[in-house]
Symmetry: C2
Subunit: 200 residues, 2 copies
Amino acid sequence: MHTNTSTDSLEYKKYLAFMRSIADVPEDEAEKMAEVFRHEKLDKGQFFIRAGERPQTIGFIISGILRLYYLNDKGDEFTKAFCVENEMVAAYSALLLEEPSRLFIEALEDTSLLVAPYESYKRISSGHICWQIINQKMAEALIIKKEKRESALLMDDAAKRYLQFLEDYPGLEGKVKQYYIASYLGITPVSLSRIRSKLK
Amino acid sequence: MHTNTSTDSLEYKKYLAFMRSIADVPEDEAEKMAEVFRHEKLDKGQFFIRAGERPQTIGFIISGILRLYYLNDKGDEFTKAFCVENEMVAAYSALLLEEPSRLFIEALEDTSLLVAPYESYKRISSGHICWQIINQKMAEALIIKKEKRESALLMDDAAKRYLQFLEDYPGLEGKVKQYYIASYLGITPVSLSRIRSKLK
DNA sequence: GAAATTCATTAACATAGGTTAAGATTATTT
DNA sequence: AAATAATCTTAACCTATGTTAATGAATTTC
């Protein structure tokens, strides 16, 4: 489902407000960028992308929850991350490498997003320093986030990772199934339930 | 130990060749960048940075091996990564956040590197598109690498991670202690020894 | 080159987390 | 509201990895 986006749609205002919290974006640049984004909705259970598909787009989440996960050959799901409002979402590695995605990105709730073709996004953002600053900052933030996740997986046991999850995604605990949280922590739902019962 | 670097030192030639494999670097930019790098050597056991220190510099490894590791409150070491020739090295998160490093970066062998103050590096690299392309590509490569490591820690058991380590760091197996490899895999040296014996 | 130190291996036992299965809740459908 | 289905909890047992300790091999020191 596609809807044109204009600079004064509520959704684009939210996008722009977020980007302007990172760097100044002149009005004409804001207008150029608005043209490449479309407003889309994903119903709960729908996919932003599936493994095997070549990603072409990036998204900005207005509301809702997405889950990024891998599926191994045995059929086990591993949740790489959750994405919530005010976050960019993409099968980033695959997009950069121009390869099929290894990730599924699925809506855990009805989700509203702005979506742009990556090529268009790159074209606009290479045209003005403000987007380059924004992209640089977002890449840095991503690296910092990944570094944190990586060190948690390396150093912390499941109970500690669970407590960290509660801090990192406030409110998500009540909204999504334990199965998803467990697969994010790298454990089974049974094990998560045990951990939760010990904490009470 | 500091030594000035010129565009025709062997070390800087190696740096430049690597960067030119990513993007065209005009001669005058190469000369500007040469001025901010100094050639340094770390003896085996010396540190590029210690946890608690504020990182100011980035390095490019000419030869040798560095180990990036965390230390938890119990005194356990966790190896985040190894760095070898033709790689940039820095306490990257801390550098971006302007915070003290949580990482130790230690030479596992006598190591030769080019080192630049991060501020100087940023100043030069913001002055020409070629460096921005290079930085962008290196950030992307870092994200891809981290994504791979993250998914391995989440999805794979220790034996599979060990086999992946052998692929990712060819030759390192014979050069560094099993203790370091084990701490990279998130297991104990005893467990690594068991895994190795089962593979034979 | 002998002694001392460090490192890798192996074994015995402990523990965290996985697996399966049975109830107990909660949510969904009719 | 009853019936069904999905989810969460608990328990019993299993497996991978941790812990400690003993031994052997390799390296360093004197």
